[in-house]
Amino acid sequence: MKKIASRKLSILGRLLASKGSALALIFLVGITLAAIFADFLPLNPVGQKLANALKGPSATNWFGTDELGRDILSRVIFGARTSLVTAGGAVMIAALVGVPIGLVAGFFGGWRDAALMRFVDVLLALPAILFAMAMIAVLGRSQAAALIAVGLTGIPSFARITRAQVLTLRKRDFVTAVEAFGGTATYNMFRTILPNSWSPIFVQVVVLCSVAILLEAALSFLGVGVPPPTPSWGEMLRTGKSYLHEAPYYAVLPGIVLTLTILSFDVLGRALSGLLEGHRDPIIAPKGEGATP
């Protein structure tokens, strides 16, 4: 136990040692804390003051005010709550469905593998944003619908990564030993193989957080995501776009926060992938190939 704890600590230390990932981590911790404790901060995301509409950044309204005179910074921070909750929930759904699919497909092979992976292929057949939009057309527009839609699009990546991991472990001695001693398939999958597959799954969680935040914001930007009046970053950019002439800061400032959040998760995901698995780029490098020194 002690060993694991110190390993985790050393990974955190090595993350903080690199300037890029340290900044990303600090930014994400900051925005998460702000989202959690938003209720205790002197913020007012819903207070309308029409006389105060579309005023540029000032000492009282750091990010300016929107078309109803609401404080944009307050809405950005409460929007962080919407984004992080939707993205976090979506990634959880994707992992809870995708990881078992990958485990079963990789462990048993054969028809179970073929059937499950065809199901995953069908999910992949449409671009994620279209699939999510179709889901929302069916479920109706709500935060839960956005969460489920984004979550479903993440299932294939978890299923594939877990399956690949299972395939490399399946014939290893410690797995066959459990089998020889009469360990059930379920025990073997969840207690023997899964604990040895955490690193790539964890990296995928971080990478997918950035994808999920982007997708949720895109859905809100298109007007099919989390419905107003709940503040969300995508919705703010959507409205801000109508006021580009009068109030350019309206679309620009929330966009900076959104972009920094996505980039931070991406930087962190790639750094973790390098530390935990020894390659730099989760998007390109199929283990070792094309990885740079």
Binding site: M133, A137, L222, A251
Partner: protein, 315 residues
Amino acid sequence: MIGFVLRRLLQLAPVLLLASTAIWAMIYAVPGGPIGAIAGDNANPEQIAAATAQFGLDRPVLVQYADWLWNAIRGDFGISIRGRAPVLQLIGERLPATLQLAVAATIVSLVIGIPVAIASALRPGSWLDRVLSGWSALALGVPTFWLGILLILVFAVELRWLPSASAYVPIWENPIGALRNLALPALTLGIYVSGILARFLRASLVSELRADYVRTARSKGLPERQIVGVHILRNALLPFVTIVGLMMANFIGGAVVTEAVFTYPGIGRLLIQAISTRDYPLIQGCIVIILVLYIAINLAVDVLYAYIDPRIDYR
């Protein structure tokens, strides 16, 4: 070659069938069903009955499905509920706009992505490589809708060089007008994709640079330009074709967001309109057509790949 194409088609047919069945079933399972959207939310029972009969929704599920599938195979997706026009006609009007944008964006992404990849692959780890890698990460991380907004702010609102809303102008009718309208959306999509292309091509260039034939070429005394430009690039571009193809396929449906930013009249905006008005035949039609194009482009890439890489046996 023909056998290869046919076999790939046979492999793709089940995916298409499963996916379109899933789309049909999803829409069929909508709470309240399509009938609410057709007759309107305040319809009286007679109107609902009339609409149900008109659209054949009173028949058994399997009959409805078989009927839909048979019509879909013949290209008939029914009549749009709101537009009162055949779905295929509505899609056909939008498709050229989407294809023109997809081609333009692909060109932009190649023009940016290839030089970036070559420059950074030649000196891995140098400051230039780090700057360009950072740029790729930025291109990938910046949401396209925000990038589009920034471009509009700079080029349309401040400089007033380009229109902030892009219309579809066929390039063969009015090349300059078409380019003016295409510039910002193509740049938005192209920059994003150039990030993916640059990362991918850089990785494959770096691994090619370590190959034996490069050492041979160097020891023969070939100039570095020729080694990179002729030998390495040709090998590295092979896997690259697949990525470019996938990107183009993604543009067809995935340009939804960019089309929305620039109010560009492509198939993506048609789909958003269809979803917001609950126009179910139009939703089904759009998604199935996008899916067909997506799969067709993937097939074309496979064939092209087998054709340009003599190592692949396509018999």
